[in-house]
C-alpha cells in the first residue's frame, strides 16, 4: 500500500488550492487524484471571463484562473495522478483508486481532503413529461462539447432553467451561430447573476420567461419541439398558456448537486439541505482527518470563495497530520440557520480549535430587500447587519470572532437568521 500525508480527491479549483496551502504549511507527501485527463476541473470549460476579481483583482477566464493554481502545484512539485477514479474511501482513510496505467491500488492517507465538486441536476431528476429523444443536454455538457471538443450540439435551442451556466450557454451558442429561442425558468426569479441576464440574454434579444416550465417534449429519434407553459404559485402548469417551440436542442440548467457518493460510502454525515458533508470549524467531517471544501461541501457562487475555503481545508489537514489540531473537546457550539437562512457552513464550532476569525457562509431561501442578517449567541442578538438585497443565487457570510465567543463560556447555540427589522 502507498503512503501519503494528504490525499486530495479532485484536481479542480478546490483540490488545487488545498494542495498548495497544505504544501505551504510544510506537508511533504501530498497526492492529488483527478479523474479527467488534466488538472483544473470544470474551470477549463468555463472560457468566459469574470473569475478571480476577489483573489487576483482582475477578471480572468476560467482556464486562466485554473492555471494560476496549476502553476503553483507544478512549481511546488506536488504529485498528481490524472485519469484516475477514486473508488472508495474507508473510515480509516484508506483510499482505493483505479486507472488504466496503474490498475487498482490503495493509498493509506494521513488525511483526506474531499474536493470532488458537484454535478448538474439531470433530466431524470426533473420529472419532465414527454419523449426521451437525443438532443437533450445538461448546460454543462453542452459547454464541454462546444468549448473543449469543438462540437455544436444543435442549431435551434430552448433552455430550461436560468442558472448561470444556462445563461452563459445561451450567449455561447448564439455567438456560434445557433438560434436560442427562449429561456424558461420555473421560479418567479432567476437564479443567475444580473450581469449574465443582461449580457447573455438581453444583449442578444433572447426572452427569459419566469414562472414557466417545459410540459412536453416531442421527437422519437431526435428532439423536434418542446412546449412550455406558465406555472401557478404551486408550480403547476396553467392550462391555456402553452407555447410550442420547434427546436433540435434542449439545455437543462436546473441546479447543481454536490457529488458525494464517496463521502456517503465512507460514512460521512451529510446535510440534507446542502447535500454536502456536515463540517465543523476546521472543515472537518464527522470522520477525523477527513476534510471537505469547494462545491462538494456546498455549491458556491464564486470560485474565489472555493479557493479561500480550500486554503483553510489544506491548512487544517496539515495541522491534523502534524498533530496540531487539538482533540475535539466535545464542547461544541451548534450554529443554527433559521428564518430565511437555509444552512450554514460550518455547522459547529469548537472554540479550542477555532482561528481568531471564522467565516460562516450561508444562503437565503428567497429574495430579501432591505433586511437584516442577524446573529444570536443563545438568546442575545450580537450582530444585526442591514443588506439592501439578498438572493438565493448569492452566498452570504458572517464573520465570528474568537474573543467574542470566549466572552460567553456557556454558549451552546449560535443562530443566523434574516430579520425584516
Amino acid at each position: 500500500m502507498l503512503n501519503y500525508d494528504i490525499v486530495i480527491v479532485g484536481g479542480g479549483p478546490a483540490g488545487l488550492a488545498a494542495a498548495v496551502s497544505a504544501r505551504n504549511a510544510g506537508v511533504d507527501k501530498i497526492l492529488i487524484l483527478e479523474r479527467d485527463k488534466e488538472l483544473g476541473g470544470i474551470l477549463n470549460q468555463c472560457i468566459h471571463n469574470g473569475f478571480g476579481l476577489h483573489t487576483f483583482k482582475e477578471e480572468l477566464t476560467g482556464p486562466e484562473y485554473a492555471y494560476r493554481f496549476i502553476e503553483k502545484v507544478l512549481d511546488a512539485k506536488i504529485e498528481y495522478k490524472l485519469n484516475t477514479m477514486v473508488m472508495d474511501i474507508s473510515e480509516d482513510r484508506v483510499v482505493t483508486a483505479m486507472s488504466r496505467e496503474d490498475g487498482m491500488y490503495q493509498i493509506k492517507a494521513g488525511a483526506v481532503i474531499l474536493a470532488m465538486g458537484c454535478r448538474e441536476r439531470p433530466r431524470g431528476a426533473l420529472n419532465i413529461p414527454g419523449y426521451r429523444p437525443a438532443g437533450i443536454f445538461s448546460a454543462g455538457t453542452a459547454q464541454r462539447l462546444v468549448n473543449i471538443e469543438g462540437y455544436m450540439p444543435g442549431r435551434e435551442v430552448v433552455i430550461l432553467g436560468s442558472g448561470d451556466i444556462g445563461l452563459i450557454m445561451a450567449r455561447r451558442m448564439t455567438l456560434e451561430g445557433a438560434k436560442v429561442k427562449v429561456v424558461a425558468e420555473l421560479m418567479p426569479y432567476s437564479g443567475g447573476l444580473k450581469r449574465n441576464i443582461v449580457q447573455c440574454l438581453d444583449d442578444f434579444g433572447i426572452p427569459l420567461k419566469l414562472s414557466h416550465t417545459v410540459v412536453d417534449i416531442e421527437g422519437k429519434e431526435h428532439l423536434s419541439a418542446v412546449t412550455i407553459a406558465e406555472v401557478d404559485n404551486h408550480g403547476k402548469p396553467i392550462p391555456g398558456t402553452e407555447e410550442r417551440y420547434t427546436c433540435d436542442t434542449l439545455l437543462l440548467s436546473c441546479g447543481l448537486i454536490p457529488e458525494n457518493e464517496l463521502s456517503r460510502n465512507a460514512g460521512v454525515e451529510m446535510s440534507p439541505i446542502t447535500s454536502g458533508p456536515v463540517v465543523n470549524e476546521s472543515l472537518e467531517t464527522n470522520i477525523p482527518g477527513v476534510f471537505a471544501c469547494g462545491n462538494v461541501l456546498h455549491v458556491h457562487d464564486l470560485v474565489d470563495y472555493v479557493s479561500e475555503e480550500a486554503d483553510r481545508a489544506g491548512q487544517n489537514a496539515a495541522k491534523f497530520i502534524k498533530g496540531e489540531l487539538s482533540e475535539n473537546s466535545g464542547a461544541e457550539i451548534e450554529i443554527v440557520a433559521t428564518e430565511g437562512a437555509r444552512y450554514t457552513v460550518p455547522s459547529t464550532i469548537d472554540i479550542g480549535r477555532m482561528d481568531d476569525k471564522l467565516t460562516v457562509r450561508f444562503r437565503v431561501g428567497a429574495v430579501y430587500k432591505d433586511s437584516y442578517v442577524s446573529v444570536y449567541f443563545d438568546d442575545e442578538r450580537v450582530m444585526h447587519n442591514k443588506k439592501r438585497i439578498m438572493a438565493p443565487g448569492e452566498m452570504e457570510q458572517v464573520i465570528l470572532l474568537k474573543n467574542k465567543l470566549e466572552e460567553k463560556p456557556d454558549l451552546k447555540k449560535i443562530t443566523v437568521k434574516i430579520e425584516a427589522e
Binding site: 477549463n44 472560457i47 468566459h48 471571463n49 477578471e59 480572468l60 477566464t61 482556464p63 486562466e64 492555471y67 462546444v146 468549448n147 473543449i148 471538443e149 469543438g150 455567438l175 456560434e176 447573476l193 444580473k194 450581469r195 441576464i197 443582461v198 449580457q199 438581453d202 444583449d203 430587500k369 439592501r388 438585497i389 439578498m390 438572493a391 443565487g393 448569492e394
Partner: protein, 121 residues
C-alpha cells in the same frame, strides 16, 4: 428625445434604469438607487463595451481548440465581426496563455489572446 430602459448589472438589486438622451448626450438617469447604476447607465448608452470569449482551432496540439478572449473590452456592436475573425483564426501548437491569436481584431486596437496552454504533440 430618446428614452432607453436598462437593467443595472452592478449588484443583485438589478435596478430598472431609465436614461433620457438627446443627440447622444445623457440628459437624465432615473430608477437607479446608487452611483454604480448612474455610471453603468451612462457608459452603457454612450459607448457599450464587452469582452468577447470564444475558441479557435489549433493544429498539432494536445487539444483541438484553444480558448481565447479579447485582451480588453471591444465596442458591443463589433461582437459579431470579432467572432468571425476568431472563427477564421488557426493556430499551430504550442500555444500559451497570452499568445496573440488575432492582432488588432476588426481594427479595434485590441488583440485576441489565448487563455490556455495547448502543447504540441
Amino acid at each position: 428625445m430618446e428614452k432607453r430602459e436598462l437593467t443595472c448589472i452592478g449588484c443583485p438589486m438589478g435596478c430598472q434604469i431609465t436614461v433620457e438622451l438627446e443627440n447622444g448626450e445623457v440628459l437624465s438617469v432615473t430608477g437607479n438607487t446608487c452611483k454604480i447604476g448612474e455610471n453603468y447607465a451612462k457608459n452603457e448608452v454612450t459607448h457599450p463595451e464587452r469582452t468577447v470569449t470564444s475558441t479557435s482551432i489549433v493544429l498539432g496540439g494536445d487539444k483541438p481548440r484553444v480558448s481565447v478572449k479579447t485582451a480588453s473590452n471591444i465596442p458591443k456592436d463589433k461582437i459579431n465581426a470579432v467572432m468571425k475573425e476568431i472563427d477564421a483564426a488557426v493556430m499551430n501548437a504550442p500555444v500559451h496563455i497570452g499568445d496573440v491569436v488575432v492582432k488588432n481584431v476588426c481594427g479595434t486596437g485590441v488583440d485576441v489572446v489565448a487563455t490556455r496552454n495547448v502543447e504540441a504533440i
